[in-house]
């Protein structure tokens, strides 16, 4: 019974290590590997912090367990009483402060690249305006070959919940909210940005591979929060252009001249294209 506490304290670091080791295999880890270059850097930062935290956590617990374990049977030796040691206080104030300082400086590049417009990668093109509302994502593209303007244009193209982008180069969206706060979250691309009513927030990302990525709302925005399921569809340049052209044809449909596309066909169009 008197070994309870040392065992108790040793149990947690062991549990932590075991769960880290088995987590990826159990699918308790990230939603797949990062599908964007910046996402990889973000993952690396995550791993760096994970290692620092893990070493600290395991280290302190092992030390604590060791001390307690020895203390259980040690009836002769008097304990060393460290309370009030000036040097020790300084040491464990400065060491964590230093580590935090290191982390904050080390991640600055990634943070700036993601958040600060002047540090966006060169050639980032705005492809669409995405307006979050309860409970969907309304999307506005410029007409093929045109630039995205800040105000709606007569030839803009509209769709909902289905954001198509070209892959392999940085693109940006203008993120807005029509009502309350939402968050534009692309888990596979490691992008998460709040949409704030009244603000237009540029968000850039680059899908490294073509495919279909989840778009979800990551800010509890009301009872229908879970309904805000969308997707980002990354495809090659010509596929993306073709998509816009299909959307344009659909949007100009006058019931006579072109074959009718339904919204559903638009959603499916991209899927066929990627395969």
């Amino acid at each position: 019974m008197n070994k309870f506490w040392p065992i108790f304290f040793m149990f947690w670091p062991i549990l932590a290590i075991v769960s880290f080791v088995i987590a990826p295999g159990m699918d308790w880890w990230f939603p797949g590997p990062a599908m964007s270059p910046l996402g990889e850097q973000i993952d690396n930062l995550f791993y760096l912090i994970l290692v620092i935290v893990a070493v600290t956590f395991v280290g302190t617990h092992v030390a604590l367990g060791y001390v307690l374990w020895r203390g259980v049977d040690n009836k002769d030796q008097k304990a060393w009483f460290s309370h009030g040691s000036h040097n020790l206080e300084i040491l464990w104030s400065i060491a964590p402060a230093g580590i935090l300082m290191f982390i904050s400086l080390y991640q600055l590049d990634v943070w700036m690249e993601f958040r600060v417009k002047t540090h966006f990668p060169e050639g980032t093109t705005p492809v669409a305006e995405v307006t979050a509302r309860q409970f969907e994502w309304r999307i506005r593209y410029p007409a093929p070959g045109k630039k995205l303007m800040t105000t709606p244009q007569s030839d803009d193209l509209y769709t909902v919940n289905d954001l198509h982008v070209p892959f392999g180069r940085p693109v940006s969206i203008r993120l807005r909210s029509m009502d309350v706060q939402h968050a534009f979250f692309l888990p596979e691309l490691r992008v998460k940005q709040d949409a704030v009513p009244g603000a237009v927030i540029p968000v850039w990302f680059e899908a490294s591979k073509p495919g279909e990525y989840d778009l979800t709302c990551a800010e509890l925005c009301g009872w229908g929060h879970y309904k805000m399921r969308g997707r980002v569809f990354a495809e090659n340049e010509s596929g993306f252009e073709q998509y816009l052209e299909t959307l344009q044809a659909e949007q100009n449909f006058d019931g006579v001249t072109q074959p009718e596309h339904t919204g559903a066909q638009i959603a499916e169009y991209g899927i066929e294209d990627s395969q």
């Binding site: 309860q134 409970f135 969907e136 309304r138 045109k146 105000t151 709606p152 244009q153 007569s154 030839d155 509209y158 769709t159 909902v160 919940n161 289905d162 009872w223 229908g224 309904k227 399921r229 969308g230 997707r231 659909e250 949007q251 100009n252 449909f253 006058d254 019931g255 006579v256 001249t257 339904t262 919204g263 559903a264 959603a267 499916e268």
Partner: protein, 380 residues
């Protein structure tokens, strides 16, 4: 009653072979089986028995007499019970909290919206591709609404639900609408002699009233129910007929400044009187919004609130067209159909016969689509 899509002609259909279809169709004997050949003609029967394991299906005709199913290779036989059941499950998950369990548009979250969720029970929806004299939406109309949502209202888009699921939901919405209509028809019939007031006025003892009612029911109910369901069947089948879709006689007149100007004149002029509701500049503030009108369904009874009413009893504002948000879709054909057939269930009536000169509707469409960009630098 149900027409299966002629384009999906298969020898046998998953719905009749799938496992989950099995118990569902066992449980019911009154389901409908449907055959359709490549030409788009279809017949329906009632299912007498169906064994999913052997795929043995026997049908009866409307009078309950065993019938011979005439199917050829390539025909599509649909057994609709399982699709409706799936539709109901999906409806309960995705739609019920707004549109209500019975489709009355009064689900638990409906109270929070200014524009109320649709009450399906009159069988009317606003944004249809069907002609003005066709009172029901087509399956395609409902499919489109569910996929794209109704922008500018809380009706969300279900774009990413798989098509089959949306088709199943659409069947169930149609079923709810038909059920609502059937109940309304029965109600109207019974209210002729047995409305609350009429019963209160009767002098006979309650038992006599009850037995007279039971007799009347026994005599007439069966015929009436048959007649009502035939009416329902006809209305809903009409809506799915290709010839009842509004297709403009000519392609869109190019949206030149001249066409837009002609459209503006028509919009503001006395022929169409769009401005009486939508206002001279399309802001949705025309004089009708300030007049006192009859309550819906009660001609001669003036409302004590100013404004226009829809058939569901809500005040409905003519759209502010300067906002550029089109609930029924922003394609030229959508606006064309809104003008040609009106917006069903609302005071905006059909203009197909008023604006009957060649290209007139297109001119108005071009004007309407240009309103959000008036007084602004266009393009580029």
């Amino acid at each position: 009653m149900f027409v299966s899509s002629p384009s999906s002609v298969t020898e046998s259909n998953d719905e009749s072979s799938g496992e989950d279809g099995a118990d569902a169709s066992d449980a019911r004997t009154s389901e409908l089986a449907d055959t359709s050949s490549g030409e788009g003609e279809s017949e329906s029967y009632r299912v007498a028995s169906y064994d999913p394991a052997s795929r043995l299906l026997s049908v009866v005709n409307e009078n309950g007499v065993p019938a011979q199913l005439s199917v050829a290779k390539g025909d599509n036989v649909q057994i609709l019970g399982p699709a409706l059941q799936e539709g109901r499950n999906l409806y309960l998950r995705h739609c019920m909290h707004c549109h209500g369990v019975s489709g009355d548009g009064a689900g638990p979250t409906a109270q929070y919206f200014k524009v109320k969720p649709r009450d399906y029970r009159q069988g009317v929806v606003k944004f249809t591709s069907t002609k003005a004299n066709v009172p029901r939406p087509s399956r395609d109309d409902l499919f489109r609404i569910v996929k794209l949502g109704v922008p500018g209202t809380y009706m969300p888009s279900f774009m990413l639900l798989p098509d089959e699921e949306v088709h199943a939901i659409v069947e169930y919405v149609r079923w709810l609408a038909m059920r609502g209509e059937m109940e309304r028809k029965l109600n109207a019939w019974l209210s002729l002699d047995y409305s609350k007031e009429a019963v209160a006025d009767m002098e006979e003892p309650a038992e006599e009233i009850e037995s007279a009612f039971a007799e009347a029911w026994a005599d007439e109910a069966s015929d009436n129910i048959t007649q009502f369901s035939e009416e329902l069947q006809m209305d809903w089948q009409e809506a799915d007929k290709e010839e009842n879709v509004v297709v403009p006689p000519t392609e869109r007149v190019p949206p030149s400044p001249e066409s837009i100007e002609r459209g503006r004149k028509l919009f503001q002029g006395n022929k169409a009187k769009c401005a009486s509701c939508h206002g001279l500049t399309g802001k949705g503030n025309g004089p009708s919004t300030e007049s006192f009108n009859d309550l819906p369904g009660q001609p001669g009874v003036k409302s004590d609130k100013a404004g226009l009413f829809d058939i569901w009893g809500n005040i409905v504002k003519p759209r502010n067209l300067t906002a550029g948000v089109f609930r029924g879709g922003r394609r030229p054909i959508d606006i064309y159909r809104r003008i040609h057939s009106g917006i069903k269930g609302t005071p905006m009536q059909a203009f197909g016969s008023t604006l009957n000169k060649e290209g007139e509707i297109w001119d108005v469409v071009n004007y309407v689509l240009s309103i959000p960009f008036e007084n602004k630098q266009g393009g580029h």
